[in-house]
Assembly symmetry: C2
Homo-oligomer: 303 residues x 2
Amino acid sequence: MRAPIALVGIGKIARDQHVPALAASPDWALAATVSRHGRVEGVDAFERMVAFLAARPDVGAVSLALPPQPRFAHAEAALKAGRHVMLEKPPGQTLAEVHALERLARERGLTLYATWHSRMGKGVAAARDWLAGRAIRGGRITWMEDVRHWHPGQDWVFEPGGMGVFDPGINALSVLTAILPEPVHLIEADLDVPANRQTPIAARLLFTGGIAMELDWLFPGEPLWDIEIETDGGTLLLREGGNRLFVNGEEQEGSAEGEYPALYRRFAELVRAGECEVDLSPMVHVADALTLGRRRVVDRFDF
Amino acid sequence: MRAPIALVGIGKIARDQHVPALAASPDWALAATVSRHGRVEGVDAFERMVAFLAARPDVGAVSLALPPQPRFAHAEAALKAGRHVMLEKPPGQTLAEVHALERLARERGLTLYATWHSRMGKGVAAARDWLAGRAIRGGRITWMEDVRHWHPGQDWVFEPGGMGVFDPGINALSVLTAILPEPVHLIEADLDVPANRQTPIAARLLFTGGIAMELDWLFPGEPLWDIEIETDGGTLLLREGGNRLFVNGEEQEGSAEGEYPALYRRFAELVRAGECEVDLSPMVHVADALTLGRRRVVDRFDF
């Protein structure tokens, strides 16, 4: 029996990932969409959240794939109407607004699931298991891609709250915080901010444990999404955003499940168990980088 | 029986507040200082933390009055050496480093106390009690002072991690988060950053609940440290950084205890109870403002 779910925000990520994952889900059936511009063929479509909430009390769960700026108001409305809520990453514009959503969900006995899709990369669980109990000697995170390819014309990523290059970079941090046996924290950061923008287009970070991170959003061609960790038992390398795992140069078998199918499976488990899952540690590292980072003005950026 | 305590960082705040509060404390006796430059007449003085920790195992508690940048390393060393730790505000440079300290303290059964001195202002507890159960209609926080008077020549406040005008502003946020019956979160912020500096010298914030905040570090003369909250039962006004309380224009009786004596009393209570007190909500609001705030370059600032 597949439970009805609504998808809010029908943009690139919804079409590329959420709609196919829901179509194949054993747990969920896409029953409605809420979007000012997009819709999904054959699915009950609403332009506004309030209209959806009033018309479809039978839909007990909502997945939000909007940009972070309008996400809070939609999540709050859904929780206040008694619906379980799944949030795309990052879960909000501010830490305090996500804390507020979590309080609201727990008060009402609803599930709030702050997803981190890269944590469901095929090599991540095996990487965490391999690192458990090992001593970390250092690490290098390399997260480089072409913003014009991945966010064509999306000015919101350079607006306050859009996080700039930390929009992809938070994926790396979501994996790092999932696989390390002990948490790390930021020591220093350099942020390159285009003269006509508010958020960084490149950054260099140093964490405790000798873990360095380099982010670049002007990297042409195939992206580099690599995390390399040196340990007392050798070197672990996660490539392709957590989807391929190498230990001492040898590729390891990973999970067969894709990222978004795994997220929707997990959301169904949380709803059945009556639990919340809201781990903000990747977002804390970004807030720390934007608080502690030294800003340098670099060349203008235009799409 | 007064327990021995060490004071680390003998600068302006230590001399103005910590040393007099400890001299009058029924709970604590100042047994050692750690500071490269300062000392206190008649008290065992160390230049380095490691020397103090080795020489004085009898001193079971440490109070850190350093600037935020070097605070983590000193706190970590003290906790690893089995000492209870009290932190001046803000408790660190990053949220993640304070989370790390809290884990360390809890693992070892030690007290970590992240202090917010303005929460001990004489009107704060009465303000919280008066607001409990009332509906908030809006509010105005006005936090204006002269940085040249309060931080003469202290360039670290304009360095990354020094937080700029949020160094005093976090005092207002520590009071706000202590008195409101429900938490709020940031909606938007404008930050004025001097052309030659990294952190804001002025800011305007808007929180949920209609609470506006204005911070200015170039305000001459007597500081304005006011929090005004409109409710369904009238207007509450806290002046002088939480130390005077007015309800509908009439001044109310407050606590007789000063801020720093109250902090040291609380630290003693926490140590006796074997508890930690680490509320990072004021720091979360600052991280949110620095994440979400729109930056504007303003005139150079030199001391």
